[in-house]
């Protein structure tokens, strides 16, 4: 009779850091973050049931700089063997913000192992990653406080959660996997806006092209105008405009119109004809609202 030994779920978080030839992850935690790449589904899978996680406390409407949020992950007590990992990362996979576990006296029974000890551990890795881990010990809740970074300019961050519900067979087959990547954006984050250029160099070229365009208009040189239009188009680009950048766009010198006094007459005529005013390219939104 031949039997097969296959991979055992990493029931002890220390195993993730142990050398590979000792059965460890050699630094891989399989959270699926940019710092890791692979998720726990690289080994585990084939479970008959979905592993449902209830995740609460996230600032889904946007996180405020420096604010503290309570991450609360829970799963069914009927799952006997579960391991859960979580980490907050920036776009490069590094830890962002700061994490802290609840004090002992505030722990609830689901956060304890069968032995009565705290289940959750916080692991700080050398490559600027900080993880929350729960091994297979009978717990079915993970809580932690996450303090958002002081600067909203960090941009969107990711919460990665990787979880395995083992079937108790001791191998990686027949296990259910939950892998989540939730993007959390700072308050007021604008997906995409448009401005004249995405770099100062391109901006200068764009302004030069606009100058050429004005000159061509004055001298009625169609070739020059065509060159200027092409140059202006190639110099422009769409970039994200953050709320705190809109003050600059609202300043008078950001007006695209070369001679506002000259255009006042035509604008007045349009307003009279249409019976409405505005929407003629005026800058605004300096307060950060729309």
């Amino acid at each position: 009779m031949v039997f097969v030994l296959a991979a055992l779920a990493y029931s002890n978080p220390k195993l993730f850091d142990a050398p590979a030839h000792e059965g460890g992850g050699a630094g891989r935690y399989y959270t699926g973050s940019r710092g890791d790449g692979y998720g726990c589904d690289a080994c585990h899978g084939g479970g008959a049931k979905d592993f449902a996680l209830e995740v609460e406390g996230l600032p889904l409407g946007g996180w405020a700089a420096g604010a503290t949020y309570t991450l609360d992950i829970a799963w069914s007590p009927t799952i006997e063997h579960a391991s859960v990992l979580a980490e907050f990362t920036d776009g490069d996979g590094r830890a962002v913000g700061s994490l802290s576990l609840p004090p002992e006296d505030l722990l609830t029974p689901p956060e304890l192992c069968g032995s009565g000890n705290r289940a959750a551990k916080q692991v700080e890795l050398e490559d600027e990653r900080v993880l929350l881990t729960i091994g297979d010990c009978g717990a079915h809740r993970l809580r932690a406080q996450w303090q958002a970074p002081d600067e909203a300019s960090v941009g969107p961050i990711n919460l990665h959660i990787a979880a395995v519900a083992g079937d108790g067979s001791g191998d990686a087959s027949g296990d259910s996997v939950a892998l989540e990547n939730r993007e959390l954006r700072p308050l007021g984050y604008a997906e995409q806006g448009c401005q004249i250029a995405d770099t100062p160099e391109r901006g200068r070229w764009g302004l030069l092209a606009l100058g050429l365009l004005g000159l061509a208009g004055l001298r009625r040189r169609s070739t020059l105008a065509a060159v200027a239009v092409v140059a202006a188009l190639s110099a422009s680009a769409c970039v994200n405009v953050q709320p705190y950048e809109r003050g600059r766009l609202a300043q008078p010198d950001m007006e695209l119109e070369l001679d506002a006094d000259l255009m006042a007459g035509p604008h007045h005529a349009v307003e009279y004809r249409e019976g409405s005013a505005g929407a003629l390219g005026g800058a605004g939104g300096g307060c950060g609202c729309n």
Binding site: A6, A7, H21, E22, G23, G45
Partner: protein, 163 residues
């Protein structure tokens, strides 16, 4: 007529030329494989759904991953069934080495075109991309350079250059 025969013979020779001669199966240093290369391959390739899958051509067996089948009749009475985290057996190490050297066979384009070295790199048709669509290694990666140096016989067990 003689020219035609010569051309046909040349064409036949070209058509029958074997890209990889079995006699050129690479035999890089086994001791270096055991100590340095095997842990790297086990870490980055040997996941159960990747090259820990015994259906694959290139497989790495080992602790915490897929283990070789064990015949209980070969165990002594006092031996307990091995744990999934027990050190790699000699069979696992040797078989992983054999699969690795088989993956070093190439069609004459150069060692760096061998599957073991080229497939983990970007843009080379490797199915096992990570969740961010990245391949495990780049040419600058120290792990890839270790495997390449081992395969090319440029480094020896003590870490020094090949004499």
């Amino acid at each position: 007529m003689r020219a035609h025969v010569a051309a046909c013979a040349a064409a036949c020779l070209l058509l029958t030329a074997c890209a990889s001669d079995p006699s050129t199966l690479p035999a890089p240093d086994y001791e270096l494989f055991r100590s340095e290369v095997y842990p790297v391959l086990l870490r980055d390739c040997g996941m159960s759904n990747c090259h820990g899958d015994e259906e694959r051509f290139f497989v790495v067996w080992g602790p915490g991953r897929t283990r070789l089948p064990v015949d209980p009749s070969e165990l002594d009475e006092e031996d307990a069934a091995p744990s999934p985290f027990d050190p790699p057996t000699e069979e696992e190490m040797w078989l992983s080495y054999q699969r690795a050297r088989a993956a070093l066979v190439h069609g004459g384009e150069g060692l760096e075109e061998a599957p073991l070295l080229v497939k983990p790199l970007e843009g080379r048709g490797h199915g096992g991309k990570d969740r961010w669509d990245r391949n495990p290694w780049s040419r600058e990666d120290a792990r890839w350079q270790l495997v390449r140096g081992w395969a090319a016989g440029e480094i020896t067990f003590d870490g020094g250059p090949q004499p």
